[in-house]
């Protein structure tokens, strides 16, 4: 079985986010990049599928130099090979362009399944997996918490509002992972050491047949402006004996917070 995993380098979830001067992105100076947490479930699922069915696993990461570390992390966890998809024209891509680039990188690889995180931590658009499936013209299952693959088909349990839905389809397919799909393993020391010695393949726009076709000029969606969330208002302590305090609290929850 040939398994592809799409991973994204995102700012460490501990980062203190600041806006860039043009307010169209965050300020990346000094930011540490990590594998988007949902992608960790995709990596783990790929490793499990390989353990069960045998085969080959490849990580794809579209991004700048920050991609190297997350690809090495994926290799350290046990993926067989890594492809860094990178080009000077691949900047400020919208989700559709990202999906186009990934589809071009994956399409002719003979993959049986593509695993992604269901959303990229930070931008949280949840668009790329579905777009990727459409561009490849493959079936898809999103927000998956359980996956079985047998013969040429898959059975996936997806999280939907208040329930779980079970879908089936044929391979090749695109599956996007939700928390709960598995328990991601930590990379081992041997894995970390071996990952340093592996080659990371590079693919640019020309290699993908995308020269001049994908870039900020072709983007269908542009970020006009980013703003920081409003400061959280100061907490308030409600004084008085329990009866009056509880009454006052409920009153405020109704009138001010409007949550009950």
């Amino acid at each position: 079985m040939k398994i592809a995993v799409c991973i994204k380098a995102v700012p460490d979830t501990e980062t203190k986010i600041q806006l860039a001067a043009d307010r169209q992105n965050i300020d990346f100076t000094g930011v540490r990049f990590i594998t988007s947490p949902y992608d960790e479930f995709a990596i783990e699922e790929a490793l499990k599928l390989k353990e069960k069915h045998g085969g080959e696993t490849t990580a794809f990461c579209l991004g700048g130099p920050e991609a190297t570390d997350v690809l090495r992390d994926a290799l350290a966890r046990g993926l067989d090979s890594a492809v860094h998809v990178c080009d000077a024209s691949f900047v400020q891509l919208d989700p559709l362009s990202t999906a186009k680039v990934l589809a071009a990188a994956i399409a002719d690889g003979g993959f049986d399944i593509v695993l992604c995180g269901h959303q990229g931590s930070g931008t949280d658009n949840s668009l790329v997996p579905s777009m990727l499936a459409e561009l490849l013209d493959w079936p898809q299952a999103n927000i998956v918490v359980k996956l079985e693959v047998e013969g040429g088909s898959f059975k996936a349990e997806r999280e939907i509002e208040g329930a779980h839905e079970i879908v089936q389809g044929s391979l090749p397919a695109v599956i996007s992972a939700q928390k709960g799909l598995n328990e991601p393993r930590y990379p081992s020391i041997k894995g970390v050491m071996a990952a340093r010695r592996k080659e990371i393949a590079q693919k640019d726009a020309a290699a993908l047949g995308l020269a001049g076709k994908v870039g900020s000029a072709q983007a269908t969606m542009k970020i006009k402006e980013m703003t920081m969330p409003a400061d959280r208002p100061q907490g308030r302590i409600i004084d008085g004996d329990v009866d009056t305090a509880v009454k006052a609290l409920v009153q405020l929850l109704r009138s001010e917070a409007q949550v009950v």
Binding site: Y186, K190, V192, M193, R196
Partner: protein, 391 residues
């Protein structure tokens, strides 16, 4: 003997820490932060050895970090090992101590001095976490003065018969493999000491007293008693009479790890103190705005940085095949003493909250103190350093 290494001999280091070291640091820190740190308060409170953590450390190749690959280890170097101890110690002092004892005391002597058969038999299991290791030199009557120990081993046909009690042995309650120093010829003093492998469950071998400790409470410390404990003749490590010499070499490497452990605890204390100083307000401002508190934090960070350079300098020397008798002792002495100071100031900066269990500050201080005692007290380190100075 020259007293110090001149700067030109060690600087520039070339690559002091490589990309691989940095990747290992990141991997261990991530695991330790997510899986070890959250349990630190509980293992301390209940004096519980987190054996499940050890199984995980085995799976991640951390127990076999410095075990050669042909025996199932990762075959990494001493800088990686110091990094691992520092990061684990930063998350939980107790786990760091048991980890360091397993690696540098319970495993390394077999790697350094064991026979091929012993290496094949024990190293893969010690590296995987199937076995836990302990190393026993100290006795009720003697610690620093190891040459006057009382445990004996006498040859009887195809066996060695051991008698005596070892005390304050890290991991003793859980160890599958115990390296025991014993007198094979009392009349020869330190030259009459040999070392032996005693497996758990050997008749006449048992855990006799589990200590209740001030700190490092999640790392078990116990006595081991041998009463006509018979082990196969091949369980001697190296030759008869080599035990003391082996112990000195073992401790020379071990000291780097205790220094790294002290460093990890000090770093944890500094991180906690810095964060607290920025959040706690008094007289209308964060206490970190007071110059006295700033002075404390400035000193703490400076001392930690100096300790870190000493420790990784010693590890770098060892990785480059140099003796570290001097550097290992200097690193261990300095790191352990500043760790106690840094942890003490961490309590001070926390005020009353530093003195209660709800914050980790008091645990850091209790844990750090051990580093000035174990694997050679500060006084013994000073003696060793003085000897290297030709005194």
């Amino acid at each position: 003997m020259t007293s110090t290494v001149s700067a030109s001999e060690v600087l520039p280091y070339g690559e002091f820490l490589t990309d691989e070291h940095n990747a290992i640091a990141e991997m261990v820190r991530d695991f330790a932060t997510r899986e070890i740190a959250p349990k630190a308060a509980e293992v301390d409170r209940n004096a519980r050895f987190p054996v499940e953590t050890f199984k995980e450390l085995g799976k991640l190749d951390l127990l076999g970090l410095i075990v050669p690959t042909e025996y199932g280890g990762a075959g990494s170097d001493y800088r990686s090992y110091a990094i691992a101890v520092e990061e684990i110690g930063r998350a939980c002092g107790s786990t760091g101590l048991s980890y360091a004892a397993h690696c540098s005391l319970g495993t390394n002597p077999i790697k350094l001095f064991g026979s091929e058969a012993q290496k094949k038999k024990y190293l893969p299991k010690l590296a995987s976490g199937e076995f836990i290791g302990a190393w026993a030199l100290t006795e009720p009557g003697t610690g620093s003065d190891a040459s006057s120990q009382k445990t004996t081993a006498r040859r009887e046909g195809d066996s060695w018969v051991l008698n005596g009690t070892k005390q304050f042995i890290t991991n003793a309650t859980h160890a599958d493999v115990n390296i025991i120093m014993a007198m094979t010829d009392q009349s020869l003093g330190r030259k009459g000491i040999s070392s032996f492998i005693v497996e758990k469950g050997t008749p006449g071998f048992y855990v006799s007293k589990v200590e209740k400790k001030m700190g490092m409470r999640g790392s078990p410390t116990a006595s081991l008693t041998m009463e006509d404990c018979k082990i196969p003749a091949e369980n001697i490590i190296g030759e008869v009479g080599e035990g003391y010499k082996q112990a000195l070499t073992t401790l020379e490497g071990g000291r780097i790890s205790i220094g790294a452990l002290a460093l990890g605890i000090a770093q944890a204390a500094f991180d906690a103190a810095l964060q607290y100083a920025q959040q706690r307000e008094a007289f209308g401002q964060p206490i970190g705005k007071f110059q006295l508190i700033q002075g404390y934090l400035a000193d703490m960070s400076t001392q930690i940085q100096a300790a870190r350079l000493l420790i990784y300098h010693a590890a770098w020397m060892k990785d480059h095949g140099k003796r570290v008798t001097l550097e290992g002792s200097q690193g261990k002495l300095y790191a352990s003493e500043i760790a106690s100071r840094v942890c003490n100031l961490c309590v001070q900066i926390h005020g009353g909250y530093g003195y209660i269990e709800d914050f980790p500050a008091e645990r850091f201080l209790r844990d750090a103190k051990l580093c000035e005692i174990g694997e050679g007290t500060s006084e013994i380190q000073r003696l060793l350093i003085a000897r290297q100075l030709g005194l």
